[in-house]
Symmetry: C2
Subunit: 419 residues, 2 copies
Amino acid sequence: MTRDDALALDAHDPLAPLREQFALPPGTIYLDGNSLGVLPRATPARVAEVVTGEWGTGLIGSWNQAGWITLPQRVGDKIARLVGAAPGELVAADSTSVNLYKVLAAALAIVRADAPQRTRIVSERSNFPTDLYIAESLAAERGFELLLVDTPEAIPAALDERCAVLMLTHVNYRTGRLHDMAALTRAAHAAGALAVWDLAHSAGAVPVDLNAAEADFAIGCGYKFLNGGPGAPAFVWAHRRHAGRFAQPLSGWMGHAAPFEFTPGYRPAPGIVRYLCGTPAILALAALECGVDTVLAAESFGGMAALRAKSLALTRLFANELRVRCPQLVQVSPESDAERGSQVCLAPRDEPELAYATVQALIARGVVGDFRAPDILRFGFTPLYLRHVDAYDAAVQLAEVLERGEWRRPEFNRRQAVT
Amino acid sequence: MTRDDALALDAHDPLAPLREQFALPPGTIYLDGNSLGVLPRATPARVAEVVTGEWGTGLIGSWNQAGWITLPQRVGDKIARLVGAAPGELVAADSTSVNLYKVLAAALAIVRADAPQRTRIVSERSNFPTDLYIAESLAAERGFELLLVDTPEAIPAALDERCAVLMLTHVNYRTGRLHDMAALTRAAHAAGALAVWDLAHSAGAVPVDLNAAEADFAIGCGYKFLNGGPGAPAFVWAHRRHAGRFAQPLSGWMGHAAPFEFTPGYRPAPGIVRYLCGTPAILALAALECGVDTVLAAESFGGMAALRAKSLALTRLFANELRVRCPQLVQVSPESDAERGSQVCLAPRDEPELAYATVQALIARGVVGDFRAPDILRFGFTPLYLRHVDAYDAAVQLAEVLERGEWRRPEFNRRQAVT
């Protein structure tokens, strides 16, 4: 592969026009869209309209006139199209952690009612920590235990008569490993357990079909591949066989059947609306809607299947170049397309401290990836705005940082808080 | 009182310059700042800077470089100055409902540990419904009962050896009645219970001194008197004797002692930071900060004491005019200054359907108040941007709507969702 080969791939890329939707900073190759997606061009004007027009001029009347009151549902219906959910099945609200608390609590309530002898939540030790923290809290509160397996291969054996809920993140945040959602959900159900999925690194990145997989509950993140902005609202989905069954514990007024009757007793709204809690965050939801629209724009170009094909081409190209150019690194993300999400992750072969410093040195060169403790270099590929030549150039730059020992410079070895 | 008298009061109002901080729509008298505060002039530019500069250009680096990662604490420290909390004791995050869940769960955990025989949460039937819904959920989950008293006068008798937590909203959303926080907290403590306060209609509206009152926990709203925008993040405070004692159940990664170590076990951060949960909502927090700044600007003009004096003058003026001009209405909000928050509430003497329609007819005239089921006309007074002449004119307009029977028109009697 030469640089011209990469340019030729871009020249024939049918998804290339989608890049125009974004305001990309010049001189940057941004491989961190799996941590914070880039700014859509439409967002500043839309947010300004909500702030100055809908809030500033419309004031309280905008809850009705501007449709604020149903914005969680409107944005939710758009996200639903990306994850195989039907209209009315998904809402945008709160954070991923808060939404996980809601659905995991509901799942545990269902198991307690139907199969009280099941007392285990099964997950992976390498799951994103906030998911484990929330599960730990609910397990302690409700008298369940949290069983963490060390490898994906160990999951099937943990699905036994003690398992209440299998709780997994579809694409691992650190390794990029993609689970087979349909197969694992089937296995969980065959064992008599429920399956709860975190789509943080999947929604907008890989094809997801929640209904086809017969998943039980799902949550996901608005600020990664959905380009919703820093700390954007998350989303929550419940299969229709569960959505109306139990009230989730964060029973705020927006999940009430009739919030504006102001009655003292809680009566949950039908379906997914009961998974809302407090007053919706309008500015943040408006920005999220613009971000989701950038992914929906791919529907005219083949949709998620086309995005997935390009994502795989980008990660394959990047991984192949690194295999040739960077003997100092081993690849942590799966080589098989079927098992790899939309990211490439690497670890130093010998010197663990190389990971953090190399990411910093690359950022100084305008190639933005991120470091994940203890020793992972992580590069996310968003096919909406990345080109093949970006993947190629990033690999070349990474090789240079390593070859020249640039990562050893002191300024790249001072740690600060990172996300 | 004549209109000229009201104008004279404005001419001598030392707080008058504070109004310049706001972008008020022309031709509107906005008496709904207790539902959604108006737009500060500084907000659009600040939000645009965060969107276009910090997010669009700074991208992921802004978590450190723009200080996003500690924004909940920075905004929290500003709100702390308005409610008698010390720096480091309060954070801005999530919604009021979600925050109430956190602190009420923590309060119940403390009581369970220290006085397990106490099994009652005491509140008012007229408390804001979302507070009651959250309490109902936690009570059921944790094996407590929720005792709702019908009048404020019945509270002391409910503080007995069965009471675990007294949970009150400082200013009642419907009646505007203001509780004596210090006295009721003392009574709760004397009975061996904890006191949890909702400051939704207090923060930025009436003087609050959480530490002087020795309150146990408090939460509050960002989009009312703090002018943070629709669905702005809420805030949460815990007295320092409690803040580090238990993990709250929404144990997301931002409340972890070391979130970026990505370790699988939850270890709560010291103090109030453990009351954070998911990734902070940056756009919404930036808008909230602008709103809080408009209230802090009053510090050079006498602060909350001066704002309170003006608020009382405005509500007194409005209530007095209505007493003379509107025999069709009875006042629901307390006449005594010491017991009245920053709002005036009325109910129809004879015809309950008058309430909703009159509010609609007034909105059509540019006087914006709101209706609260079943029959309350509610008018909030924000002393930062309202003038005495606004209070006077609003009373005149309300009298006209009633005298002329304008509220009987069909277009004012069609209900829609309102907040």
